[in-house]
Symmetry: C2
Subunit: 316 residues, 2 copies
Amino acid sequence: MISSLQLAKLCGVSQGTVDRAMHGRPGISEATRRKILAMAERYGYRPNPAVREIMDRRSHLVGAIIPALNNIFFMDMMSRLKELLAAHQKMLLLTPVHDQEDFTRTLEEFAARKMHAALVVPPEENLVLPSNLTKSLPILSLLSKCKNKAITTLAADDIQAGRMAVQYLANLGHRRILHLTYARKAKGIMDRICGYRAQMKELGLESLVAVYRDEKTFFETVNRYRPSAIFCHNDWLAITILRQVQHRGIKVPEELSILGVDHTPTFQALYPDLSSLEYPLKHFTECAAQWVITGKIHAVSEAFRVFEGKTTCRQK
Amino acid sequence: MISSLQLAKLCGVSQGTVDRAMHGRPGISEATRRKILAMAERYGYRPNPAVREIMDRRSHLVGAIIPALNNIFFMDMMSRLKELLAAHQKMLLLTPVHDQEDFTRTLEEFAARKMHAALVVPPEENLVLPSNLTKSLPILSLLSKCKNKAITTLAADDIQAGRMAVQYLANLGHRRILHLTYARKAKGIMDRICGYRAQMKELGLESLVAVYRDEKTFFETVNRYRPSAIFCHNDWLAITILRQVQHRGIKVPEELSILGVDHTPTFQALYPDLSSLEYPLKHFTECAAQWVITGKIHAVSEAFRVFEGKTTCRQK
DNA sequence: TTGTAGGCGTTATCAC
DNA sequence: GTGATAACGCCTACAA
């Protein structure tokens, strides 16, 4: 692609005039503008945004870092967010990272490029990032917290989610409700456990929390606890155990109810019948977009919603 | 973040010297280098790659465009590819697109930014892109073809995949093998149908191809054709119908064998037991990386491989 | 060993 | 209405 100077020469005008034409600025005659736009079209000229961004000392790119694996939820989220940011002339670009070193290196590259902001899913909880990074690049941490004070965290109200799951299952008559979750100490995980425990206690029920490791261990847990319902940390986990449970001939939901969390587009498509707590993705992405644009989050928290699929039912 | 000029002033040297220090170039004393590097560390200085790229007239960013929905396969692919490209100092950045307009706009932005290359999953087959684009930006189309001559297509040998699926199922004793696929006329889809038909014919079996629309239509097809095995275009489709089939009490694989295609990391994790033709992802991504770096593809085509899960078995 | 000058593509500003 | 110039941050080439 040619440069503005080349185009100017081709049109027999100056760079300044080309600029006026390309950006619809005043101070140019209609005839000249049309001529320049026609030539631009012909040679496929478009100003390189990267140059503009150097002068502004700030890029219009927003970088996002998501896990290389197990990223269905985040992709659904980013797809929405991308549209919101596009409305503000910000381009969202994603990169999947494999480990913590990769994570930090990528973030440093984002900072060096003077990206407008970065949205990150930290590979582990309470990550500590070099203070250089947090100084030069606004970072929003999704779902997990970072040690650095300067890094804002965005998460839905997961305590509420835990409570809501219990309340929903209890209303269906369940008493032995197992919460199946992950070993990672991420904020979202801990909060849901917390909410689950609090609500179980309020209802006078016994808390049963288990970490999913493998099929064998899982069924040992099931045989020990004999739950009538399992509240899974997310849909990914719910789908995993749903398969295993059905494979053993256990009837879902008649013998065992299963409830997940997320219900984002991909999970809906993958398993439309799965009962799930719908993540407030709309509100969540709006908050994220707002943060990118204004630097602030006015988190009027919006709640999860129960999606009644066919993997939960009234306990007889 | 400060600029090289600011850092130079802080160190009491010139920009040129800062440059020598930052890039480990000769012509600088060890003492000066250490001093500059220390200050750079302290102020978090790193040269902005975007500036360098303007001078080179070519960015080190490689843009990738993938569908906003149903992108599990592509995410798995891109995660691998990212690592391969990182080894060549190229940064892969993804963006999910929602429709064709979004697709074209994004590609134009990539071109304007003088990206090194673009890897795209076209939203539809035989797309026609403005010739400006194809002139200024090397584009590699994944799985689907574009009308433009200048756009290279990268795809695995899907005809071979179709044949292999049939052969595998026939070896298990299946005679009534249904091929379930999509309505889209993408190359990958058409080629697998083609391979399926060819191999069925060779074995003297009757071809049964059906497009998946909804659950109801699907079971009408099953009842009409009475297949003992279903070869699904991909794992996504296989998982969808697996759920529906089991829900109706049909035993898999005893009464009905199901075979998918892809077997990428996410599908493996989501459904480890699913029998599938493993997509030659390693080879595929190596080809893509090679194209990005050299502009050429030496496609020593590597084949799909059968993964024998628990959703296929010998037909009694 | 170090400093200086020029240029990359774009835009803002001022002069004509 | 249009052209010239400076500036953004960096790097190469050359001068000291």
